[in-house]
Symmetry: C2
Subunit: 199 residues, 2 copies
DNA sequence: TGCAAAATTGAACAATGTTCATTAAATTTG
DNA sequence: CAAATTTAATGAACATTGTTCAATTTTGCA
């Protein structure tokens, strides 16, 4: 019993790793049943013995990438003090990750999650992802009276929507046209959203 | 000579109208060579006598939809006074249009423009679309000293990125989960972005 | 009317997702 | 250990979609 499951999970992982490699390297467009299976060392038909369909496999990658993103960002900002500046830093790392791996951005925000919608609440995980990454800092800001609860709600959303919007334009439409301009605009947006309100 | 061109343009339009109908009705996923050609009353092969490929046809629709959007919004806000409130109104109509026609949103912001990138600068048109719609109002705000030029640059971007971001989540991921919540959050964002700064 | 040019078309190919019956491997059992 | 049975892996085959092209039909006109 046990052995069966271990072995089964091992083969599943071969496919998952293959898919993740392709996603990071070539992007979603290069991920298809045959390319994944070849990279995993199996026939394309074998994939269907381990996953309901290609979508199921692909969206397992989402969770893995989320964990990875969280770990990477955690390391980068681990010795900063809580507060608005750390929210900026987290958001910038968050954006950087997607600039480095546009395939993951596509996966998180672009790709329609055909049959996944009901069975998993993966879309919710993505929606709240940045909020969660900054959770401690928002709490700190509230406790310290840096922002009111109402301000925090607005700023959380602004951050989430703005960063998603600019990433969508930059990664999908190459607007702005170079990375420097992208960073400049992003910084300006972040500074403005997180500036201390003068009310 | 003349007649040839008129007739040719007529047939092109049959395909374009068919594609636009399908895009508005069923969305991008239902637009394929065979469905468009059937709706146009021709064989799928005929499409290639009038368009380089399916992408060319689809991205002709983008321009048409942009014109349509501009006209619709123009009508809705025609007897409002210039200024920040009209920018809000325009942006809300802009968002409403895409909520009504998610297929057009997909087309504008999601779909990769394969071969179009170089030949047309359609991506630029989309990027600046909201800016252009509000152009007079931003100028008015600057002239009246309601916002500084720097503030305007930041607010333009915030508007553009935020509205694109929330539309992406709402239309593609159903987050927030209902239209009321979507409107509530959008309004809150708009109010905050366009509030009179207290510097 | 008959012919040359133009327009239309279905057949055919490639890529991709998916299913399924068959084959190969592994495990159990006598 | 060998036969039988269960499990895993696979290629063949089909569906869908984009695209090309040679053949056919239609059109314009001398």
């Amino acid at each position: 019993m046990e052995r069966k499951e271990i072995q089964e999970q091992r083969v599943r992982n071969y496919f998952i790793e293959a898919a993740k490699n392709l996603l990071k390297g070539e992007g979603l467009k290069s991920v298809n049943v045959r390319s994944v299976a070849e990279q995993a060392g199996y026939s394309y038909a074998t994939l269907y013995n381990y996953f309901k369909d290609l979508n199921e496999l692909i969206f397992i990658c989402v969770k893995d990438f989320q964990d990875e993103t969280e770990i990477i960002i955690g390391q980068k900002i681990k010795d900063r003090n809580l507060g608005a500046e750390r929210i900026k830093a987290i958001t910038k790392e968050y954006a950087s990750y997607f600039v480095e791996y546009p395939g993951v951005f596509e996966l998180f925000f672009i790709e329609r999650m055909g049959s996944m919608n009901n069975r998993t609440n993966i879309t919710g995980l993505i929606y709240d992802f940045l909020d969660r990454l900054c959770d401690e800092d928002w709490n700190y800001c509230r406790e310290q009276g840096i922002f009111t609860q109402d301000q925090i709600e607005i700023k959380k959303d602004q951050l989430k929507y703005s960063v998603t919007g600019i990433l969508l334009f930059y990664l999908h439409r190459l607007q702005p046209e170079d990375y420097h301009e992208f960073v400049k605009i992003s910084d300006r947006q972040l500074d403005d959203i997180l500036k201390i309100s003068e009310l």
